[in-house]
């Protein structure tokens, strides 16, 4: 139980995440990916839409994706409340106020827009795409990191750490 309550090392977490690839392919018959859930939720919430990207999306056939992210929420809850000795803080304190919430919303806009435009996130491209040896996914992953590193530089310049 002691080892379970400590933060898990990379050689446990990485392989477990990697096993999601065959597990989903064989047990659910679907390739691993999470950002598509935003599309399916949007389609689900817009039954009469004329927007092609949402209208032409058969979200009912991808219900597994919405159930999967529900599982992510549940698993995270279990991990934080039953598998941890101390309180789990995944966000910095300066985000826990409305100015922080606004920044998270804007960041979220970038995540939702960017992943759908790229047709995948770290799960869909960096894990699934690379596991399938697809070069566009390698390019996507490189761009994720370029975008991140440029943002760090820009944000550091705009909001220098005290």
């Amino acid at each position: 139980m002691e080892t379970l309550t400590q933060p898990w090392p990379w050689y446990v977490a990485g392989p477990l995440i990697g096993l999601t690839v065959p597990a989903l392919l064989l047990l659910v018959g679907k390739p691993f990916g999470i950002s598509s859930s935003f599309r399916h939720l949007a389609s689900m919430c817009s039954p009469k839409t004329r927007v092609a990207y949402l209208r032409d999306n058969d979200w009912r056939s991808e219900l597994w994706s919405l159930v999967f992210v529900l599982g992510v929420i549940i698993g995270a809850f279990v991990a934080a409340h039953y598998l941890s000795n101390s309180a789990v803080h995944l966000l910095p304190d300066h985000y826990r106020q409305w100015s922080g919430g606004l920044r998270l919303f804007i960041g979220g806009l970038f995540v939702g827009f960017g992943t759908r435009y790229a047709d995948g996130c770290t799960s869909g491209h960096s894990i699934m795409g690379l596991s399938n040896l697809k070069w566009p996914s390698l390019l996507a992953t490189a761009c994720f990191f370029i975008g991140g590193m440029v943002s760090i530089v820009v944000l550091d310049a705009l909001f220098p750490m005290p």
Partner: protein, 136 residues
């Protein structure tokens, strides 16, 4: 039945994201600043296991539980891979989360991450609206 497996896989995945701190804004900062190898090692070892698993599935001709052939939808190159990828990278830094960890942050009790989720939902919607005008 496959929905039950999806729920189970998601639950395990969510547990791993929190316990290994992949969903932690702090770890993502360290990753992008190259201050530690943790995230790179996780992604690297995950891909190694993933590559091996797909090789085995193909070599052994494994089929899905429903008896179907394993097919993976192709994600061909289009300009969004680059433009969208860079935009997502910026969002990953700000929120400290990619899509999976957004859900994990919420589940772990970081309810301010709901702002990230609402933003992501709106971002996806915005893409849907702008899509016909965007370079692909």
């Amino acid at each position: 039945m496959n929905l039950v497996f999806a729920l189970l896989m998601g639950t395990i995945f969510g547990t791993v994201l929190v316990k290994s701190e992949v969903a932690s804004w702090f770890r993502i900062q360290k990753m992008f600043r190259f201050e530690e190898a943790h995230m790179f090692l996780i992604i690297g070892s995950a891909v190694a296991v993933g590559v091996l698993s797909i090789v085995l599935i193909k070599k052994l001709g494994l089929r899905t539980l429903a008896g179907e052939e394993v097919t993976i939808r192709d994600k061909p190159y289009q300009k969004g891979v680059v433009i969208g990828g860079i935009i997502f990278g910026a969002g990953w830094v700000i929120t400290g989360a990619c899509p999976g960890p957004i859900y994990a942050q919420i589940g772990s009790g970081e309810y301010w991450a709901l702002c990230s989720f609402i933003g992501a939902f709106c971002g996806a919607y915005l893409y849907a609206l702008l899509r016909p005008r965007l370079p692909h």
